[in-house]
């Protein structure tokens, strides 16, 4: 493998659309031996084969950010033609779904799923948001997760993804029921937790994303 080619594979774009902790993600990519490029305008995305869509905040605020930057059409084209592998983190994952109970705007719709609010009866004693470290169960063969169980990740979310096609689900986590912790369909990956804040478990995930 030539050096040139290796660099391209190692280079991860991190989409900057006004939401999300870009620096934490760049920081961990560098830490595990990858390189990142902050993608703030359309020219920046040239040559990028792997893209991370981060995101913290509300669904409509996130979609509006994508619309304001005129990202939706461009990303649709890149994702549908499979010229790019894309990883959504937290809200970034939720934006890949068709819709959310949190907002009125349509999602990107790359995964046949909707986003619903957690709702528990009082006696369940479950707080909202689901915040903290939880273990995941790997439920299908995945490019991002090795099959061994009991990996733990840091979650913070009040809304959760419900996949219409259960075959898209790659890991689940127990919060009163089996919550979708990640999905994976062709070149589209989404994780509900924050791998950039999940110690060695997160570092391993970024290494895998760099190597696929």
């Amino acid at each position: 493998m030539g050096i040139q080619q290796k660099n391209i594979i190692k280079m991860i774009g991190v989409l900057n659309y006004g939401l999300g902790n870009i620096n934490s993600i760049s920081n961990i990519i560098k830490h595990v031996g990858g390189e990142s490029r902050i993608i703030s305008k359309h020219d920046d995305i040239e040559g990028i084969k792997k893209l991370i869509i981060p995101g913290v905040g509300s669904f409509d605020h996130g979609m509006q950010g994508l619309h304001d930057g005129k990202w939706v059409e461009l990303l649709n084209e890149m994702v549908n033609s499979e010229s790019i592998k894309v990883l959504g983190i937290c809200l970034g994952m939720q934006l890949m779904c068709k819709s959310s109970e949190e907002g009125k705007l349509s999602g990107l719709g790359w995964i046949d799923a909707k986003v619903e609010k957690f709702s528990f009866q009082n006696h369940d004693n479950k707080k909202i948001p689901h915040m903290g470290w939880n273990t995941i169960d790997v439920v299908k063969k995945s490019n991002l997760f090795s099959p061994e169980q009991n990996k733990r990740f840091y979650f913070v979310h009040s809304y959760h993804v419900v996949c219409n096609d259960k075959k898209d689900i790659s890991t689940t986590t127990d919060y009163g029921f089996n919550v979708t912790a990640s999905f994976e369909n062709k070149n589209v990956y989404g994780v509900q937790f924050h791998p950039e804040k999940s110690h060695r478990f997160g570092k391993e995930l970024f290494k895998k994303f760099i190597s696929i």
Binding site: N27, P129, M131, H199, R200, G202
Partner: protein
């Protein structure tokens, strides 16, 4: 299963790390960057950084120091101290802070809660509530930046800040701070029954059993200062954190 979080609480004073007793008598315990590196290696659940002089001196956060610290952190990090507006919060999120913790600025202005929550989500706003008992043993709301009590009913205040958009509460007992004699479990019990957001409890942890008791009384997370930085009867400085398997065992039903 979601694990109860155990959070080292780091107090910053003049760029050094300190630990207080009952919010006074701060003792220097080391260099913050060094402490962060140790806590990183120990894979702590989360870290809490509080600048105890910022509001007292009426200044904003020390962004340079916080950025240095956050770039070393591969775990969630919250920061509190001197935050007065959402622009400061935005800057903190940009340099790698997950949650901002507010107290002084909120007493007379709930709008700042909604302002930050609407832009960055409720989960990013922690409201810090300090409670001190009066001479009759009655709980009173306390303002750490000027050392005065606040003439508001603390239970109502707790519910009001949650209604205003707080995603999490940091509940600290001033009387128990730094004593390592156990948490105020009555206080924790009352608070966690009043609101449905996670509550981080602080003040008095001196053993793993104290952490377990906090969980049993409804706490979602326990912040720990002295117990993780002091060792032995002479309080020698030694930074520690329980092994994951020990915490797992502790929280088993």
């Amino acid at each position: 299963m979601l694990k109860t979080r155990v959070i080292p609480s780091l107090l910053i004073k003049n760029e050094g790390l300190v630990k207080t007793v009952k919010f006074t008598n701060s003792k220097y315990v080391g260099d913050p960057i060094n402490a962060i590196k140790i806590f990183n290696d120990k894979e702590v659940d989360e870290l809490m950084l509080l600048d105890i002089l910022a509001s007292k001196q009426n200044r904003g956060p020390n962004f340079d120091l916080i950025k240095q610290i956050s770039s070393e952190c591969f775990m969630p990090l919250s920061y509190g101290g001197g935050i007065k507006n959402s622009d400061q919060a935005k800057k903190l999120f940009e340099i790698g802070i997950e949650k901002v913790s507010l107290q002084t600025a909120v007493f007379n202005n709930f709008n700042i809660i909604e302002d930050i929550a609407s832009k960055f989500g409720h989960q990013s706003v922690v409201i810090s509530i300090d409670i001190k008992k009066n001479w009759l043993g009655k709980y009173e709301l306390y303002c750490a930046s000027n050392g005065k009590k606040i003439k508001k009913d603390w239970k109502q205040y707790l519910q009001d800040v949650v209604s205003a958009g707080a995603g999490e509460i940091l509940l600290n007992s001033v009387d128990n701070d730094g004593t390592m004699n156990g948490l105020d479990l009555d206080l924790i019990n009352i608070a966690t029954s009043l609101v449905n957001v996670p509550i981080i409890v602080a003040g008095g942890v001196g053993s793993l059993k104290d952490i377990k008791l906090a969980e049993l009384n409804g706490a979602s997370a326990v912040a720990v200062g002295s117990y993780f930085v002091f060792h032995g009867p002479h309080k020698a400085v030694l930074i520690t954190y329980p092994e994951y398997k020990d915490l797992e065992q502790l929280f088993k039903n």
